[in-house]
Amino acid sequence: MTAVISTSGLTKRYGQTIGLDGLDLEVAEGEVHGFLGPNGSGKTTTIRILLGLIRADDGEVTLFGRDPWREATDLHRRLAYVPGDVTFWPNLTGGEVIDLLGRMRGGLDVSKRDALLERFDLDPRKKGRTYSKGNRQKVALVAALASNVELLILDEPTAGLDPLMEAEFRACIREGQNDGRTVLLASHILAEVEALGDRVSIVRAGRTVESGTLDELRHLTRTTISAQVTSDPTGLTEIRGVHDLRINDHRVELEVDSDQISEVMTHLTRLGLVSLASHPPTLEELFMRHYRDVVEA
């Protein structure tokens, strides 16, 4: 598999503040890559570097193996972009914006456009100003999805969409993936990335803190177990890899590192299991673990 997007040690400063602090990102051909991070963590900055709108101060970046700053125009033929903060010209209609952007990108598929307008239930005759936030978002999505490009760069594309439209959006992305498209999906909505993402990169303060498939990431983290036992469970404190142990009489709740699960299970069985529930870490927990110190601070 070849890398469509590859960055290493990407750095960007804005005066005193640091936008990116050595960000690494690999997106392989044909995958939907979830790019997760809270607001201000550097997602949009990364995307604007990939689009050649701003130049990195340091680090390597390639898009389709080429330099996005110097070959921006050529590369843009192969991608479509949905900005996070969609504003369009107030005196152009949504339909005009979709056509204009498509043509400037090198052509758009008219039948695809019409089908997408139908699916997203969008009136293309309204002027830019009169669209609600969600509808502006739909204009940008239709404009991007209607062109036959290899790469979609989406910056929080579902902000403002209602749940029905969000489902439609997911369906569109899956179809695109079946057609062999690569998608970079920047988001802070975990459920969306969990549903669509093949692989995930988590950024924090301009730096990649985790990257891999969801399974790999889960492997690195803890499983939550709650159990009811018959004997005194205090011995659990002795086992390595057990965290957040809460004992209430014979009820036990704990988190355990993934490589220590079998040892904990053996111990629990010996204590006499009455009931047991366990679940793998959700992306939410993964995310919270990486940000907890920020939230607490």
Partner: protein, 533 residues
């Protein structure tokens, strides 16, 4: 429910948000008036010197049309003439920007709804904006009057001047409040308000310029003209203040009436649906730029053609201005007789047209920055559009727009003047040439705008300051006897004063090269810099 609940809170909020902006407006406008009076005291201390100055002014109807007639040759009279019209127009702009900013813009951005959900009455935002804007006008009036009295000018004239300024503020605050009810977008509302100021200026221009042809009554339709007609320092006509107060009240009542009949966020003019797909012409950056620049290009062309037609139609009466002044007639006759006077007149008139056309050019060039800041440039630059092509699509209008505007208004001025004296074929090329020769200076200002955009985008707006400086150097510089080197800073002072002067190519070539260089520097800078957020 009391529709005015919360007005006090909103006044404090507006004052807090605009404390810097409004203070600068008020101080600069007060300084312009008081500073001009003080400069006149220093430069023209004797009645005879002032009489000569007033005669020179009266001999050039282009200046009379632009600034109104001189009603009195005292220091105060000259000051009121010098800054009356310019001040009134700038005050109108201040009032319009402040009003729209705190009414329609708040609604468009949705901040109004945030406020509406708290204990704030329906009419509170409009009322608070009116109070703050009119209050700024009053403060400005008090500062002007106090400054002038401090300089030893007569008290009644100083008070009339201050009240006149306050009256203009109130009128345009009311009219802008009305404009804010009409459209859904703040940009369109601002456009309507500015167009009303422009129309007031043009009506007064036609009236004061066409007094000889019986068009003087037009000035009475213009709130800007009312300031001139109030005649501070020239046997003040106090009742005219009633016109300002009356129109201000009428417009305000109209605004409340409309506000009561529409939803928050909606306009009186409902937006109509447009085409569902783009026409074939809308498929390139240039096609997009054409759509975006078209309305303002049409508007400015129309307005300047009107100014050109006024200048053309009063040119014939230029000689008449000198009728009762044998001294001046003699001077002008030495310069080449009646023809020489008309030529000097057209040189001045085309210089003024060029300055207004430059304002259009600057606005078009700064569109680059507007597109960049609103992130709309991102959407275009993320397609296969190269940066230079995107910038070029907008600059076409900044560079060629003023050429079109000056050519059309020059032709119209020449044709109308020619038809008066029965020499259309002879006059059109003469006046057209006088208009077109201004273009290199216009381009230099465009160049400054592009250079700032490329190298220091956050300072792009500073080009307005540069343009105002050039304007004041050209308009005030000679009368206030600025040193020659400072007058030379303005590119407009290097343009040969056709048709009165000889055509010399060197300054034109130098200015054009300078403009090209500035644009090239700006574009090279933009190629290398980040597209800013």
């Amino acid at each position: 429910m009391n529709t005015l609940v919360g007005t006090g809170h909103l006044i404090r909020l507006i004052a807090r948000r605009d404390r810097f902006r409004l203070s600068v407006w008020v101080l600069v406008l007060a300084l312009l008036a008081v500073g001009t009076a003080s400069a006149f005291i220093g430069l023209y201390p004797s009645e005879i010197e002032r009489q000569v100055l007033a005669n020179t002014i009266a001999s050039n109807p282009a200046i009379v049309a632009f600034l109104g007639p001189v009603y009195d040759t005292s220091i105060g009279g000259l000051t009121a003439w010098r800054v009356g019209v310019i001040g009134s127009v700038l005050i109108g702009v201040m009032a319009a920007l402040t009003m729209i900013r705190h009414t329609r813009e708040e609604e468009e951005t949705g901040r109004r709804e945030l406020l509406g959900a708290t204990v704030v009455g329906r009419n509170a935002p409009l009322t608070a904006s009116l109070i703050v804007t009119a209050g700024a006008g009053l403060v400005l009036g008090v500062l002007c009057a106090a400054g002038m009295i401090g300089l030893g000018l007569p008290i009644p004239g100083s008070v009339a001047f201050g009240l006149g300024y306050a009256g203009v503020t109130a009128v345009f605050a009311g009219l802008s409040g009305l404009a804010a009810q009409l459209t859904q977008g703040a940009g369109a509302a601002r456009g309507i308000a500015i167009a009303m100021i422009g129309a007031s200026f043009l009506l007064r221009l036609a009236g004061d310029g066409g007094t000889a042809s019986g068009l003087g009554w037009l000035s009475w339709l213009s709130p800007v003209g009312w300031f001139t007609q109030l005649r501070p320092f020239a046997e003040e006509r106090w009742p005219i203040l009633g016109l300002s107060v009356g129109l201000a009240l009428l417009a305000t009542l109209g605004a409340y009436w409309l506000a009561a009949r529409r939803d928050v966020g909606a306009g009186v003019v409902q937006p109509r649906p447009g085409p569902a797909s783009a026409a074939p012409s809308l498929s390139s950056p240039l096609g997009l730029a054409w759509r975006l620049h078209r309305p303002s290009l049409f508007g400015w062309t129309l307005g300047l053609c009107f100014v050109g037609s006024v200048y053309g139609s009063i040119a014939d009466s230029v000689g008449g201005f000198l009728g009762d002044n044998p001294q001046l007639t003699e001077i002008f006759e030495r310069l080449g007789g009646e023809a020489g006077i008309t030529e000097a007149y057209f040189a001045t008139a085309m210089g003024i047209l060029a300055l207004i056309a430059t304002a259009y050019a600057v606005r078009s060039a700064l569109r680059l920055r507007v597109e960049e800041e609103s992130l709309r440039a991102d959407s275009v630059l993320a397609t296969t559009t190269p940066r230079l092509r995107w910038a070029g699509s907008h600059l076409v209008f900044a560079v060629l727009g003023p050429v079109l505007i000056l050519a059309l208004s020059g032709v119209i001025a020449g044709a109308i003047y020619g038809s008066f004296i029965g020499d259309v074929a002879g006059q059109v090329p003469v006046v057209l040439e006088a208009a077109m020769i201004q273009i290199p200076a216009v381009w230099v200002v465009v160049g400054i705008a592009v250079a700032l955009f490329g190298l220091a985008p956050k300072l792009s707006e500073a080009v307005w300051g540069v343009l105002v400086a050039f304007f004041l150097l050209g308009q005030l510089g000679r009368i206030l006897q600025f040193p020659q080197w400072s007058l030379n800073l303005s590119p407009f002072s290097h343009i040969p004063a056709l048709p009165a002067a000889e055509l010399t190519m060197t300054p034109l070539l130098v200015l054009t090269s300078l403009a090209v260089l500035l644009v090239a520097i700006g574009l090279a800078g933009f190629q290398r810099r980040d597209v800013a957020v």
